[in-house]
């Protein structure tokens, strides 16, 4: 386990985070946007794990449990909102849901 260099772990999390951000920016479907946000959250969580294994501390894994719980709650709320939006507007295209403009 200890022979994975820390740099590789961090680069992986960086790549994951960038994939998430890119998904967030280019996807128009709200469900995919939500999934992209999940990827970004998990990338952040993985960064905690990598850091924890580097310094041999359990705190990072504790943080990851927190992030998981938070992500689960966020997905529940997010999906509920998406369902409501779909009921109301019959679409999930984020670009079409632009009523709140100045």
């Amino acid at each position: 386990m200890n022979n994975v260099p820390i740099m590789a772990g961090l680069i992986l999390t960086g790549i994951l985070f960038m994939i998430g951000v890119t998904g967030l920016l280019i996807r128009r479907n709200l469900v995919f946007i939500l999934m992209s946000i999940e990827i970004m959250l998990n990338a952040a969580g993985m960064a905690f794990i990598v850091a924890a294994s580097k310094w041999m501390q359990p705190d990072g894994q504790v943080m990851f449990i927190f992030i998981l719980a938070m992500a689960a709650a966020e997905v529940a709320v997010g999906l509920a909102l998406i369902l409501q939006i779909f009921h109301k507007f019959k679409t999930l295209d984020a670009d079409k849901l632009n009523n709140m403009k100045g």
């Binding site: 849901l97 403009k101 100045g102």
Partner: protein, 624 residues
């Protein structure tokens, strides 16, 4: 008994408060009773106080009742105090008595009006203000009454406020008199600066001791007070408001614009006579203004076709006579003419009101005619009032009062032949325009049938005033005709006696004959033109229209004062200081428009903003 003086003022004030607070809930009968009753009680009380004042005149010439101290600032402490002497006694008698008759008349005249209680509330407030004005012991309290009558005048001219023209007339009256009031206020400040008090008797006493005759200080003080008097009494050059003030109901015209308020200027000058005696140039100005006004207004009255405007111009003209009398130092003659004028002018306005209401609010005399047979009581009382106004010799009160002024305009110390010529010309014109009005309205064929039967409440005041318009003249007759001087000797305790320079009995008789002949020939000329050769319509020639508009004063003032102010206001709209602030507002607006573009409502757009922001922040942290 004299200690009841304050109640004379308190009663109308109480009536006003009652009607103003709960007038709408009361029935018309109660409103009428309160409105008329308070003035009636005041009038009775005035007569009681008058009797006890006259009987005690030998030992108390002046009675001062101090109620309380108004305020105290740096040694200046005007009090709420009333000053009763023979001058104010005359005025309160006329105000309450004529006021009561007019109120009685209005109780019937205004009965169908929806603003019945409002009308009586204003009228009561007016009487209270006018009483404060004439009874005030200091100039500040006088000024309170002065502004009070100005306010009531404004409210009553615009009484029928639904017609915008009436509102305009009300504002005009208010603004034009305000010009005079401003001068008067400055005069009051000047007097406070000089004497540190506004108590009238103190000021007059110290002015007499401290200021020499012809001093600049007396000149300044008296000319500023004169400014106020000119505005309130509608004299040249501030006379333009009075003809328009006829927009109010007829009783208002009778009470305010004939009998009482417009004579406030006469009262002010008579009250502060010492200041005017100390500055002979100002007295000359008063006399000249009076003469010019009486001629100008007389000529304008010749051409009017609205019956109330004839009376309005004749009021201006008659007050011109009073000013002439004040100017030549015939103080009691001015006050005497004020009293007689109050009787016959109130009578004429009430008579005109009776005609107008019988003919469905028709004001145009040329649409009337032949009313002599239709409305006999109105006709005969109106005829008596007109005869008094035209100074029909020997039998009318107007003759005695006007003749006295005409005589003093020649014979007194301040008199001169020019003033006399103006005065007799005025008398001649007065006779013509008065009887022109009578002949057009009451003679000829009937053009409109009066429909309404006039009740006793309207006719009784007419009859009482008609009697007064005849008999009240006999209390003051010239030396050639009995020489009764009840009135002038009553006033000598307050006003200085007239100084006569060119006295000669023969000349006086000659002048009286001239005046009498002019009055009678004036009536005859009116008879020739308006009964013999009766015109069916008014003339429209340029000269007539010029006089009809009151010597085009309105147009001149419009060009000199109103247009430039409007022009300046137009320019001021493009004020360059404003541009600076408009620019700031415009800049903010521009920022709003630009930033509004970023609020697209697109989620991904906002996310992009977040990402770019995060990248920028991280770059700054890493690179610095």
């Amino acid at each position: 008994m004299l200690s009841l003086l304050w109640i004379i003022i308190a009663l109308p004030l109480l009536g006003f408060l009652l009607l103003a607070v709960s007038g709408k809930k009361l029935s018309r009968a109660v409103v009428g009773t309160v409105g008329v009753g308070t003035i009636g009680l005041s009038a009775i009380l005035t007569i009681i106080i008058g009797i006890s004042f006259i009987s005690g005149l030998s030992h108390t010439k002046v009675y001062v009742q101090t109620l309380w101290q108004w305020f105290y600032v740096e040694g200046f402490s005007p009090s709420i105090a009333f000053h009763l002497d023979s001058l104010s006694m005359t005025f309160i008698f006329v105000i309450t008595f004529v006021g009561f008759l007019i109120h009685l008349y209005s109780a019937e005249f205004m009965i169908d009006d929806e603003g019945y209680s409002r009308f009586f509330a204003y009228m009561n407030l007016f009487i209270a203000s006018m009483l404060i004005l004439v009874l005030a012991d200091n100039l500040l309290l006088l000024y309170l009454g002065w502004e009070g009558v100005g306010l009531c005048s404004y409210l009553l001219i615009g009484f029928w406020y639904k017609d915008p023209a009436n509102g305009t007339a009300a504002r005009k009256a208010f603004i034009v008199t305000r010009i005079g009031d401003t001068a008067m206020a400055i005069g009051l400040f000047y007097l406070v600066m000089k004497f540190n008090t506004l108590n009238i008797s103190t000021i007059l006493l110290s002015a007499q001791h401290l200021w020499p005759v012809g001093s600049t200080m007396a000149f300044t003080a008296s000319i500023l007070l004169l400014g106020g008097a000119l505005g309130k009494s509608a004299q040249l050059p501030l006379q333009t408001w009075l003809p328009d003030a006829m927009a109010g109901p007829s009783p208002v015209s009778a009470l305010i614009h004939a009998a009482t308020m417009v004579t406030a200027g006469v009262y002010l000058i008579a009250r502060t006579n010492v200041l005017f005696i100390l500055s002979p140039p100002v007295q000359t100005i008063v006399a000249v203004i009076g003469t010019l006004t009486l001629l100008l207004a007389g000529f304008s009255a010749l051409t009017q076709y609205d019956i109330k405007r004839v009376l309005a111009y004749s009021t201006i003209s008659q007050i011109g006579y009073m000013f002439l009398a004040l100017g030549v130092g015939a103080w009691s003659a001015a006050v005497f003419h004020f009293m007689i004028h109050a009787f016959f002018k109130a009578l004429l306005f009430l008579g005109a009101g009776a005609v107008i209401i019988s003919l469905h609010h028709e004001h145009n005399m040329f649409k009337m005619g032949g009313l002599r047979k239709e409305m006999p009581v109105t006709f005969y009382t109106f005829l008596i009032g007109s005869a008094s106004l035209a100074a029909l010799p020997l039998v009318t009160a107007g003759f005695y009062s006007k003749d006295e002024i005409i005589w003093y305009s020649w014979s007194s110390a301040g008199g001169n032949p020019w003033l006399w010529i103006g005065a007799i010309m005025g008398a001649f014109i007065t006779a013509i325009y008065t009887f022109r009005m009578v002949f057009i309205t009451f003679y000829g064929e009937v053009k409109m049938k009066p429909e309404k039967k006039l009740s006793n409440l309207i006719l009784i005041p007419l009859i009482v005033l008609a009697v007064l318009s005849i008999i009240s003249g006999f209390i003051q007759t010239p030396s050639t005709l009995g020489g009764v001087s009840i009135f002038s000797s009553f006033l000598t305790s307050t006003l200085p006696e007239v100084i006569e320079n060119h006295f000669s009995e023969g000349l006086e008789i000659l002048f009286q004959v001239i005046t009498a002949v002019l009055a009678i020939s004036g009536i005859f000329i009116a008879y020739l033109f308006y009964v013999k050769r009766r015109p069916s319509e008014r003339s429209h020639s340029a000269a007539v229209n010029f006089l009809l508009s009151g010597w085009a004063f309105d147009k001149i003032y419009d060009i000199i004062f109103v247009k430039p102010v409007v022009w300046m206001a137009e320019i001021d709209r493009h004020d360059f200081i404003d541009y600076f602030y408009t620019f700031i507002a415009w800049l903010t607006g521009l920022g709003h428009v630009v930033l509004k573009q970023t609020q697209t409502g697109k989620l991904r757009w906002y996310a992009m903003g977040l990402v770019i922001g995060a990248i920028l922040t991280i770059s700054i942290v890493l690179l610095s």
